[in-house]
């Protein structure tokens, strides 16, 4: 057996007369946020064109859901947006509940709100850390913020661990309610955690906004106009950063969100800094909702369909519904078509990151290479949700 011969080939840099350079960013790249490949066309340092290549993390969630029952799929749903797993499960079980008109007890609704809001805080913490790391580098100031944020996120994951037993992918939601009640002492430790995070968020805010370099990198970069934002369908903090006061918790309330007081932050600039401001306010508002929900938490059952014995026991009558929840990254939607059996006939997963990422080709051209990572970070895509 002879060893395969490698003919040394000189790779010429792709310099044509127009002085343009094609550069691959990803799929393996320190700031690719997962597996994203951007084929950039550069003129010097300026990006003039970008082609996005996605799909490296495709796990056929939609086909898979047609083969799994309503009891089985929620724990798989958490694997779409693995950074905010609670809200992914939320969308799916609510879709089944809306079609089947299953009742959800008040206590379960409040527990859903608490976990969803804690999840939003955890997800935003990871966003803040990774975004700063994108701009500051793993060997620079960005890593400092990243480690601080991870420290706080850990506190929330600890809470989830004592509630569910898992730290990343939970399987906490089920059709008709939630799977577990809170253990004794959980509410108190949750209150403490919320206070700690609230205080530290203010510290980071001061640390970042008093930093002229941070402001120089975030302000005026990656501006998204309102028209473009709506036409592409970006949602969540990005849409609110572009001047649209649209929060599903307010506009289309679900799971008792109308019981709580909270602000919907809106910024009009549409740049990276506006998106940062929106998320920083959302931290506080989410923590506020958690506090209110803990105070008002009613007694009662946690599920209207307890004691399921078989995975195929939940049958959803014929019908269809599009149900959306406000996830950490925006509108997480589930379009479900049920045919009366224990499995959905068709499930379309509307990932917030997929639509948010589609904005990139519209806003990147004209920016410098360094801005791409800042814009990518401010969009905060999770590739589990983009590729599904």
């Amino acid at each position: 057996m002879s060893a395969p011969t490698v003919t040394p080939k000189r790779v010429e840099l792709d310099y044509t007369g127009s002085e343009r350079l094609t550069m691959n960013m990803g799929p393996q790249h320190p700031s690719a946020h997962g597996v994203f490949r951007a084929v950039l066309t550069l003129e010097g340092e300026t990006v003039i064109d970008v082609d996005s290549v996605i799909g490296y993390l495709h796990r056929c969630h939609e086909k898979l859901s047609e083969t799994l029952t309503y009891a089985q799929y929620p724990s798989i749903a958490s694997k779409t947006d693995y950074v905010a797993a609670m809200t992914s499960e939320f969308a799916y079980v609510r879709a089944a509940e809306v079609i089947g008109k299953f009742e959800v007890p008040k206590r379960a609704q409040y527990l859903r709100v608490i976990t969803a809001e804690l999840q939003r805080v955890a997800s935003h913490l990871l966003w803040l850390g990774t975004w700063c790391m994108d701009m500051g580098g793993a060997l620079g100031g960005g890593a400092t913020i990243f480690l601080y944020c991870i420290r706080e996120r850990e506190l929330i994951l600890d809470l989830f661990e004592s509630l569910v037993g898992a730290r990343l992918l939970y399987g906490f939601f089920q059709v008709g309610g939630v799977r577990y009640d809170i253990p004794s002492g959980w509410a108190d430790s949750c209150r403490q955690t919320v206070d700690v995070i609230d205080q530290r968020i203010s510290e980071y805010e001061r640390m970042l906004e008093n930093n002229p370099f941070f402001m120089a990198r975030a302000q005026g970069v990656g501006v998204i106009s309102r028209e473009l934002a709506e036409s592409v369908g970006i949602s969540g903090p990005l849409l609110r950063g572009s001047g649209v006061a649209w929060d599903l918790r307010r506009a289309d309330p679900y799971s008792s969100y109308e019981d709580f007081e909270f602000k919907v932050p809106v910024e009009t600039a549409g740049d990276c800094f506006a998106r940062y401001r929106v998320r920083m306010v959302e931290f506080r508002e989410s923590l506020k909702i958690v506090r209110q929900a803990l105070d008002k938490l009613p007694e009662g059952p946690i599920s209207s369909r307890p004691g399921l014995k078989s995975v195929a026991q939940t049958r959803v009558p014929k019908g269809e519904a599009y149900v959306r929840v406000e996830g950490a990254r925006g509108e997480v939607g589930c379009y479900l078509v049920a045919d009366g059996s224990a499995k959905p006939y068709r499930m379309k997963w509307r990932g917030a990151s997929f639509s948010n990422l589609a904005i990139l080709p519209h806003i990147i051209p004209g920016h410098k290479v360094a801005d791409i990572v800042a814009i990518m970070g401010s969009v905060d895509p999770v590739f589990g949700e983009v590729d599904r």
Binding site: N24, M25, S31, L139, G142, T144, R217
Partner: protein, 326 residues
């Protein structure tokens, strides 16, 4: 006989001492950064991780040396050495104590500045020879940045020269036996700030590390290097920053002057250099990186005119004081 032997032995001693300090400076930085980030830092190798730099060196030596098929091999292989040599040369002219040094040249500052900006040659060779687009972009950025920041670096280093009236490093140190130049009213503090900023930029440290920029360019010009070649580049970079720290301590912090007997001089010098190094490290671990156009704008629109004006003002003050007989 001694006159013949000393010039042969001194460089070897200095080289080894410098390499020893450089390896431990990496540990100092890691510990310092870890404390800033509420971590512990290296802890497992030896007591509180004191053997970590040695473990790192051994690890890098044992790594496979990968040469990309498409690389321009002579340029690629030569680049780490071309990069390292000027970084080591800068220690030649540094006096570590009165009369203790390899060569206390009459034009010491000039030599230091000239040699220290030669690292760009090795840097560009590494970026070009790797035949990698990230490395190429990084080399482009490096040339931009080094040209832009060497001027303010030179001008801010010239202010102590004007104050001391000599280009010889030992004379500048001796001139500070009364008042350290950093305490010189107004001029001293401004010059020190300008020196630190341009040092950080000329050494390509965060927040000006756009040529390494691992979130955009992965590792920039050294993306294709591995094993000992990577170690040489790393060594050169830290030697350079250490040399600049020594220069800062010498130009502004009174070099070896300090309380205690005279033989403590080199120790004081080292401590002061470490303080400058930690200042630079502190900046590194608290700022985000700025963009290439912003870096260039900062140099040409703010730092260069400011240092130039400061240099002129210093000259005016010195002449006025001489005429007034102060």
């Amino acid at each position: 006989m001694l006159e013949l032997v000393t010039p042969l032995i001194a460089p070897i001693v200095v080289l080894h001492v410098v390499i020893g300090i450089v390896t431990y400076v990496t540990l100092l930085e890691r510990k310092f950064a870890a404390r800033m980030q509420s971590r512990i830092g290296p802890y497992r190798v030896g007591y509180h991780g004191v053997l970590q730099p040695i473990a790192d060196a051994v690890k890098l030596m044992m790594k496979e040396d990968v040469v990309p098929t498409a690389a321009d091999k002579p340029v690629y292989n030569l680049a780490p050495i071309v990069f390292l040599v000027p970084c080591m040369f800068i220690f030649a002219t540094l006096p570590f104590a009165p009369g203790l040094g390899v060569a206390d040249l009459n034009i010491g500052v000039l030599f230091f500045l000239a040699v220290s900006s030669m690292e760009i040659v090795g840097l560009f060779m590494a970026g070009w020879g790797s035949n990698n687009k990230y490395a190429l972009l990084s080399a482009m950025r490096a040339v931009n940045q080094v040209i832009s920041y060497d001027l303010p670096f030179v001008f801010s280093a010239l202010i102590p020269v004007v104050l001391a009236g000599s280009l010889k490093l030992s004379d500048i140190a001796a001139a500070q036996s009364g008042l350290w130049f950093i305490f010189y009213p107004v001029i001293g503090q401004l010059a020190f700030i300008a020196f630190i900023v341009s040092t950080v930029a000329a050494e390509n440290r965060a927040p000006f590390d756009i040529l390494e920029a691992e979130s955009e360019l992965v590792a920039g010009f050294r993306v294709e290097y591995s094993g000992m070649k990577f170690a040489l580049i790393q060594l050169g970079e830290y030697a350079h920053i250490l040399g600049a720290s020594f220069l800062g301590a010498l130009l502004f912090l009174g070099a070896w002057s300090g309380p205690g007997p005279e033989w403590l001089g080199p120790i004081w010098f080292l401590i002061k250099a470490m303080l400058v190094f930690l200042l630079v490290t502190w900046v590194r671990w608290s700022f985000v990186r700025i963009r290439v156009d912003q870096i260039l704008a900062l140099s040409w629109k703010a730092l260069l005119p400011a240092t130039l004006l400061l240099l002129l003002a210093t000259a005016v003050v010195v002449v006025w004081r001489a005429n007034a007989g102060l």
